[in-house]
Amino acid sequence: MSARLRARLTPYALLLPGGLWLLIFFVVPLVAMLSLSLQQGDIVNGYTMTWHWQTYVDGVRQYHEQIIRSVVYGAVSTVLQLGIGYPVAYWIAFHGGRRKSAYLFLLLLPFFVSFVLRTIAWQFFLSDNGILLGPLKDIGLVTQDFHILARSAAVIGGLTYNYLPFMVLPLYVALERVDPGVVEAAHDLYASRVQAFLRVVLPLSLPGVFAGVLITFVPASSDYVNASILGGPQNSMIGNVIQNQYLINQTYPTAAALSFTLMAILLVGIFLYARALGTEDVLEAAAR
């Protein structure tokens, strides 16, 4: 084989195992799921392909409450994370000094504990007569039937907590790149601190905001662990429904249809969002 040909084929050879793996176990399953969503039947009598698009309509009609709720919870927790995380990222980037990486490390510390365990620790902490509420009830500061769990606040709080580092890291990366000289220049041009921030730092950090929102909103709105552990029947998200349908009810067509609908909604959201900030940013995020 000539060296030229070998050089041409090398990238494909390198790509083959990984690419094939992803093709078979990521792309093909999506096709399988689409196919399943159009079938009808049950475990006992089997499923037949009937191109039953009605399943999608029925699914959305029956669970539109959960779908909307998931998007809302995801959006609210993302905004909260932006609000909570931005000052932290700012502080570490501008005032972190030599110990920047140490602070980032502290931020990532929760990730060394299993996701499920973290959420259960919160459930334990917030339980009706637990560490936080028990003493408050004993003093009488709060009524006996007061509960934080099984409320939307608990679920949103859980989502905000669990995905906060995902928001802070891109923000930090973007803020860290801002040359402090530029900020000083702004001050030299008579800008106040607030003005310097709003008109210089903030716009420069927007790619970080974009990336942070992207990698936070998607997992947050499709999460079901927080809703299951911290929430009640009125806080169930579309992820809970999908999980129930797949793993307990085994109503595969509806489950697959809902899963596809969720993915479609999120994809549309991402592309609209990318359009608003320019397509290049989507691919830049991809390239990173």
Binding site: F26, L106, L107, S114, L117, S222, V225, G239
Partner: protein
């Protein structure tokens, strides 16, 4: 008479780092510092609770109320057979994922970072999609595939799923590293007569090794903590996060807290170790 800092004045107080007088800046700066530390404390609160209740001298079935300090659970760590099995499954799967995903992910990262070829765009897109896809969709679609093909769920399907979602992370990490490399070094090696394999093994690989290691560790971390995708594809096999999920209904035994603490401590030590090693090298 107090002068209000006006833009007309020459050496405006705003330009000096002191701000509007020496007194104001420290407070505002301090406020932000306090805020950041509050957030960090908030982030670490459940970890503290988890670690603390691993020392709880609980007598009944539930680890709910503090009953005294004890080390005994550290001695009885492997008392619950199912939990130990689940932990072992998690570790084995994570190690295998690290090796397999690390291997094929590195290859993909090399291909994408170094070469220009048709299909690179599509591959990049597929990677991006795999990284940003919601976990539940990935898990559910994989389950749909297995159900359609009547593949029995278990250890193997979990491994397949874990490698699937780790590959892209490894590839992206390695690609980032590869793109920072100077191709001149490899050219020099080849000019000196080294064959393709020798060039790779003695020149390229050591240079990309930090990226490969980072990617592998990332794959390990992702795999050992994965819950959503695993719960869809596990069948009868249990992993550590799955066992915890199932056990919350009857009450978590203190051994779970202890295991969580040990993993946490191990991860911290590892992270500090790699950071210090990196600093020493540079």
């Amino acid at each position: 008479m107090t002068t209000i800092a006006s833009p007309r004045h020459g050496a405006s107080p705003a330009s000096a780092p002191g701000g509007g007088g020496r007194r104001r800046r420290p407070l505002r700066g301090r406020l932000l510092t306090i805020y950041t530390w509050l957030v960090i404390v908030w982030l670490c609160l459940p970890i503290a609770v988890m670690i603390l209740f691993g020392f709880n001298d609980t007598r009944g079935r539930y680890n709910n109320t503090w009953q005294g300090f004890t080390f005994k659970w550290y001695g009885r760590l492997f008392q619950i057979q199912d939990l130990t099995n689940a932990m072992r499954n998690s570790l084995v799967i994570a190690l295998l994922t690290m090796v397999v995903a690390g291997g094929i992910g590195t290859m993909v990262g090399l291909a994408l970072g170094r070469y220009r070829f048709r299909g690179a765009g599509a591959t990049n897109l597929m990677m991006f999609a795999a990284i940003s896809s919601p976990e539940i969709v990935m898990g559910a679609s994989l389950l749909s595939l297995f159900v359609t093909l009547s593949v029995p769920l278990g250890f193997v399907t979990i491994l397949i799923a874990h490698v699937m979602f780790s590959v892209s992370f490894v590839a992206v990490t390695v690609r980032a590293r590869v793109m920072t490399l100077d191709p001149a070094l490899e050219e020099a090696a080849r000019d000196l007569g080294a064959g393709t394999w020798a060039t790779f093994w003695y020149v390229t690989f050591p240079m990309i090794f930090p990226g490969v290691l980072a990617g592998g560790l990332l794959a390990f971390a992702l795999s050992i903590d994965d819950f959503v995708i695993t719960s869809f594809n596990a069948g009868g096999t249990t992993t550590f996060p799955l066992w915890i999920w199932g056990a919350t209904k009857v009450g978590l035994p203190p051994q779970v807290n202890v295991m969580g603490t040990l993993i946490f401590a191990g991860g911290v030590v590892l992270a500090i170790g790699t950071a210090m090693a990196g600093r020493r090298r540079s």
